[in-house]
Amino acid sequence: MIRALCICLLLWLACPVTCWPQQHHLHHGLGLSGDDVTCLCKDHNGFLWIGTSQGLNRFDGSNVTTYFRHSADKGSLLNNKINGICEDTSGNLYIATAAGLSVLNLRTAKFINFRDIDAGSNRLSLSAGVAFVVYFEGRIYAGIGSGLLEAGPLMTGAQLHDWGTIKPGGQGVEWTNNGASVSRSGLWMLTSSGLIVKNNSRFLSDGKLTDHLQIDDDISAVCSSGDTQYYCCPSSFPGVIVYNSRTGVPKKLGFKELNDERIISVCCQPPGKIWLATSARLYLINEVAHTLTACQVGGAPGLRISQLMCDEIGTLFIATSSGLYFGSYADQASGNDTNAWQAITDPFVPRVAITGIKKAGIETPLPAVGNLDVSYKDKIVSFEFAAADFLDPGHTMYAYTLEGYDCDWNFCEGRTIASYKNLPEGDYVFRVKATTRPGNWNTPGHELGVHVYGPFWKTWWFPALCCLAVGVLVYGAYYLRLRQLIRIQEIRNKISRDLHDDIGSALSSIAIYGEVAKKYSSEKTPEAIPVLNSLQETTKVAMDNMNDIVWSINPGNDKFITTIERLELYANEILNARGIRLHFRIADEVKDEKLSMQHRKNIYLICKEAINNVAKYSEAANCIVEIKKDGRNVSITINDDGKGFCGQATSLGGNGINNMKSRAIELKGILDIFSVSGSGTSLSLKFLL
């Protein structure tokens, strides 16, 4: 799309006066879509839009960007034959083509096409072609076969002025392609049978516009300058009539050289310069000196001129059938005309615009409004920019910066592209400015806000969400585990209740029945008594054991103190019966400690066995139970002042002591039994809580 363009410098040697010393030629061979240039328009960025019969072009003095119709793409240009171009104040370019009207958004580079349009209650077809399109006093005017189409921006609220309204009795009249021009006081439109002026809401096409200008004259070219001067070229006059709407005095500039010549385009460069073009020749009129200079354009034989255009800094553009000629005419010094010099010696500062954006190498339209959104996935984002300079093309210098990323301006010449790789998430502003003379920048230049979206895992809410999810999971796991534990506990409680209620009652009943049996059999069969005693004894042991188990699995008994209380209760019951005094010394700090089911069962049963042994064998007077705690170490000692025993503890009590040892191992504790014959027994149990 962007092509380097060599500029042809042609010296006009044949002409005795060098009115056109620096002439640049843009043609198909240098990237123009076609050689047959039909219309020209400069947009607000300073870019030149060139309509040809083979496509549309944007030109900045060095590079050409072309736009064509692609039959497969409905969003492309409507037709390659361009009849007229204009721009509104909102950055939309209206292109009159041979098949309808295309509207190009200069920012997004997107076309909206109108093959037909609703005008009031009618649907108008534009497919027969649009002759011209102009922007006048906030409205769009387009010349079509059935009359003049008027619409708001982007062709909203269109209405048709038919030929009957515009030019009564003007059937069969046709618009001249690209034949409209705008001044502040009127819209001038050329037809095949004269000029039509739209002034306020009136259409004037018949009669005298002024004393000297009959607008039904066959006027072939008009132009205006400022808001007061009009330049008309009637076919009946060999030159140009300058009409001043303020003074009302027309000035006729006639030259015999122009006899029999038909002027097809006129263009003025105030003060005092008027360019005229016939289909084959270019003329310069010095309005003050009343001189005419003939200039030749290009060297190609059979060249036809279709439009002249001057810009505000002294460039003349000539649309021809052999491409575009343009250049400065200011070197043409003509005596006292110093203002012409002024135009070029004023430092020219080119305007600059972003002309394209690529995200990850893919063309992306500029956003119509607001910031450009870039995803972190795009990785590379590049900005193309250009400044139009037709005076000294190819020597524009650019400076760009991405505020928030670059620390300073980057300077470049020729290569008008800025690329950024892996931008971090954030807001930036891309700025670009241009100059043709160092130090004279068009500040502040052009700017575009850029927002880069980071990956979702780098946003603030992502870690928050992760934390939440983890929290929910942990809570869920905890909840499930808790439910499981509660369920186990419920089962445990139920088993324990059933044991109590059913088995306990049954065992009690057996013991009671035994008693009843003993009562009845004591006289008749006294030998049954010991058997029944054994039955009762066994039942009682079974009940005791069951009671211990049920007690130990009851979660309500998880405090150390409940174990101690139970132990004390048991010790009191069994020791008091033997007349042994019990001394319980419990350190306060153990009372609130929690014991697991396994722990409390083992501790209780070891101590129970020990107290049982004291009651059964020691013949002691006192039994001292002491529980102490040091850090996590708990020590339980059970001492008596009985007769003691000699030798190994295991030799005494048989299974009882073995049971105690194995329970101590289960506790991961240390069990010591120490006894001296005649001076009591000491049992000590140490374990970690």
Binding site: D502, L507, S509, I510, A511, I512, E515, V516, Q536, E565
Partner: protein, 214 residues
């Protein structure tokens, strides 16, 4: 012949109820007045059977043993109610003593001791376990102190006996420690029970039972 002690049994376990009934019937000094699986119509039952002693299971469906004791004690304060429990759950035992029971027996109690318990309960009062004694002391200290003027508190001797009992001393050991006879100990304990019953009908104790004990 001496008057036979009429005993009613309230027990929801069939086998236990049956065996207790047979046990009581087997001894001529007792007479089974009635055996019931629940205490729903206990007052009617009492009116018909006129028991001297009631053996009452603490955990029964519909009307719990504790509620039943309260009913009986309110209408027939002369009937001795002895609680039977599988759990040696101090809270429940204490609550039933407050409600008017004169004693309690664990179900694992040897049958011969059950009969002793009935005799004891009929004649004097029932034993107090150390933990129950502790509760009685703290109850009088915390809950009854503010209404001391209106209701009798514990005498010094009674408090002393209770303190000995909390240490696990038997009645005989208490008697030795206080240098009094065992019958005097029984007498004091009976008084303690009565004071407990009196207090237990008061609002404060009912509240204490509801909030703290039951």
């Amino acid at each position: 012949m001496e008057k036979r002690i009429r005993v009613s049994v309230y027990e929801d376990s069939n086998c236990l109820r049956d065996s207790l009934g047979k046990l009581i019937s087997a001894f001529p000094e007792f007479e089974l007045a009635g055996a019931f699986p629940n205490a729903i119509s206990i007052l009617d039952n009492i009116a018909r059977n006129k028991p001297d002693v009631i053996l009452m299971d603490i955990d029964m469906p519909s009307v719990s043993g504790i509620d039943a004791v309260r009913l009986v004690h309110a209408k027939y304060p002369e009937i001795r109610v002895i609680m039977q429990t599988v759990f040696d759950n101090n809270e429940k035992i204490f609550a039933s003593i407050c409600a008017g029971a004169v004693g309690y027996m664990l179900k694992k109690t040897a049958p011969a001791d059950i009969l002793d318990g009935i005799r004891e309960g009929y004649k004097v009062g029932a034993p107090i376990s150390p933990s129950v004694a502790l509760k009685i002391i703290s109850m009088f200290r915390h809950h009854v102190a503010p209404v001391k003027n209106a209701e009798p508190g514990l005498s010094d001797r009674e408090s002393e006996i209770l303190r000995h009992l909390t240490k696990g001393l038997s009645y005989k050991m208490v008697a030795d420690a206080c240098s009094i006879s065992i019958d005097t100990v029984r007498f004091h304990i009976k008084n303690i029970y009565e004071k407990l019953h009196v207090h237990s009908v008061s609002e404060a104790v009912a509240k204490a039972i509801n909030e703290r004990l039951v």
